[in-house]
């Protein structure tokens, strides 16, 4: 390609050539933490881990639609309706996001990398199914430009781009993101389509006494985050391949459990008395925890930092959910906030380590002198 007619388009060509394949350029020698699994393979694994949630989400979108009309059509009709709602979201997300990535990569002479493959799949999964497509396009553009490209592209971003897209939507178009109107695609007018979190917020605790239902996930909600089972399958894949950090997942569960128990002990209102393990099943907790909080770029990098990051994240989720009446869903805001703090946590962990080692070295020297 060098010196050829289309040299300018090199990064575009390279992106397609190595798309989803392991490139020939793997490391054979070298002492650092590189191995033959590169960014592309990492990203493809995450996509595979997302598939169960995606497939279930497609089915659920159709199922909720027909349930709201009181109909029970066949499996394929349900899937068909779900596809019809979900596919355009995915197409728009990839089209806009990759378009912007290609333009920036071309302009700066970088290579296009697969960072966006995962983001582009995450974004549709955390949206309500009935959201207008132009809003999706706008939020994707915002997230990619201001979340990633401003900071220098994949790997340089401070905030998780998929969550940034949702955050943008949440504040810019609240009507499309909250209330009981948006969570069921094309629902019948008389049917109440509140999410479980919404019920919890207004104190309808009789609506949420079904932990098994929340575990399976046939309930209104964002496309990919209702089914805890599907997400757990994804989590297993990520943990088995070592791509997601088990430390962050465990620490977040611990943090949420600790604060959930504390809130239960206070129990001042209906929402506070909600058993702590319900929080794991409701809303975007599982999805955010498995696919967003463990994002290797925006979470803490050091092992000790990951524990701190996770515990604080779990605690924050419960705090925002329980104490802030304006935001029933705390996972998104909690993760974005912890993303901002992750570099600070890492900084102090590293400084502490340096101090510890300096102290040890000094002690050793004193010992030798004696």
């Amino acid at each position: 390609m060098k010196g050829g007619r289309f040299e300018k388009l090199h990064s575009t060509f390279d992106a397609f050539e190595t798309f989803l394949f392991v490139p020939d350029k793997v490391t054979f020698k070298g002492s650092h933490i590189r191995d033959s699994i590169d960014l592309k393979r990492t990203m493809s694994t995450v996509i595979v881990a997302l598939l169960p949630a995606l497939l279930f989400g497609i089915y659920n979108v159709g199922y909720q639609h027909y349930i709201s009309y009181g109909e029970h059509p066949g499996f394929w009709q349900i899937v068909g309706y779900g596809l019809q709602k979900v596919l355009p979201l995915i197409v728009v997300s990839y089209g806009v996001g990759l378009g912007i990535e290609f333009i920036f990569a071309q302009y700066r002479g970088h290579e296009v990398n697969e960072g966006y493959l995962v983001t582009g799949m995450l974004i549709p999964l955390i949206l309500p199914p009935d959201i207008p497509l132009w809003i999706v396009a706008l939020s994707v553009a915002f997230a990619v430009i201001f979340g990633k490209e401003v900071f220098g592209g994949t790997g340089m971003n401070v905030l998780n781009p998929a969550l940034l897209a949702r955050g943008f939507l949440f504040f810019a178009y609240p009507a499309a993101m909250t209330g009981d109107k948006v969570w069921i695609a094309g629902k019948a007018d008389a049917y109440s389509g509140e999410t479980v979190l919404g019920h919890a917020m207004i104190g309808n605790s009789d609506q949420i006494n079904d932990p098994m239902g929340m575990f399976i996930g046939l309930e209104p909600g964002s496309i990919g985050e209702t089914s805890v089972i599907a997400i757990l399958i994804g989590a297993a894949i990520l943990l088995f391949t070592g791509i997601a950090s088990w430390r962050i997942m465990l620490a977040t569960m611990l943090g949420a459990t600790a604060l959930g128990l504390l809130v239960n002990a206070i129990g001042a209102n209906e929402y506070m008395r909600l058993p702590f393990y319900f929080h794991f099943l409701m809303g975007g907790f599982a999805f955010g925890l498995v696919f967003m909080a463990t994002d290797p770029v925006t979470s803490a990098q050091t092992n000790r930092g990951k524990w701190i990051y996770g515990v604080l994240l779990g605690a924050l989720i419960i705090i925002i959910r329980v104490f802030n009446p304006a935001y029933p869903e705390g996972v998104m805001l909690a993760i974005l906030l912890m993303n901002v703090f992750a570099p600070l946590i890492d900084h102090y962990v590293i400084q502490a380590n340096i101090r510890y080692r300096v102290k040890r070295a000094k002690a050793a020297r004193v010992h030798i002198v004696k």
Partner: protein, 218 residues
């Protein structure tokens, strides 16, 4: 006579013209010196208050520059900040009264931010850095230049935030009703202060990628 001729020639000499031109771009008080950000976030949700605010600041900074420049040899250095503040405060009170008399509704929208012009960093910066060491005419031009540099940013922010956040400009509906019926809706984020910060950031980004000498080294 000949001396006066010479003075008159130099009123808009290249050096003086630079005093107006530079603050508009490469020495912009908001995007390069990052001063006066607070009011830029607070008053730019609509175009009209942004415009009035920009005008007020321009008037105050130009006049304060002239007054301080006239007094510059008589101000004891140890209390110069207090003297500057007194001058600015007097001018701000004048402007505030004028606004209340002629554009009462806008004055109410701007509320405390007119009074806060006193603490606007652009003013203190120009008085300290320029008016204390220059003659009245260049000080006046410097004030106008910095006021305009502040103004165009505010007006640009007010334009985008009102157009996309409310669908109006200067209070008149720009985006037709049929758009809303077709599914368009206003962008609620643009009404919130962080949006102004993002827009200012975007202007800074565009400016620095066009003029790389503005990028700080670190």
């Amino acid at each position: 006579m000949s001396k006066q001729q010479k003075e008159r020639e130099s009123l808009f000499s290249p050096r003086y013209r630079k005093l107006i031109r530079n603050p508009l771009s490469i020495e912009n008080p908001i995007t390069v010196q990052v001063l006066g950000i607070c009011s830029a976030l607070a008053v730019t949700t609509k175009l009209k208050p942004a415009f009035v605010m920009a005008l007020s600041v321009t008037v105050v900074v130009a006049l304060a520059n002239v007054v301080i420049s006239l007094l510059r040899n008589g101000i004891p250095p140890r209390i110069r900040i207090i003297v500057q503040l007194t001058v600015v405060a007097a001018l701000v009170i004048l402007v505030d009264q004028v606004l209340k008399a002629f554009v009462y509704d806008v004055s109410k929208q701007l509320s405390v931010f007119v009074g806060l012009i006193i603490t606007n960093c652009i003013l203190m910066g120009r008085l300290e850095a320029f008016a204390m060491a220059n003659k009245p005419w260049p000080a006046f031009l410097d004030g106008i230049g910095n006021g305009l540099g502040y103004s165009w940013i505010l007006i640009a922010l007010g334009f985008f935030r009102e157009l996309f956040g409310n669908g109006t400009l200067w209070g008149y509906r720009i985006i037709p009703q049929s758009f809303y019926e077709a599914g368009y809706s206003n962008n609620g984020l643009l009404i919130l202060p962080p949006a102004a910060l993002i827009l200012v950031g975007t202007i800074i980004w565009i400016q620095r990628s066009r003029n790389r000498s503005l990028i700080e080294e670190y």
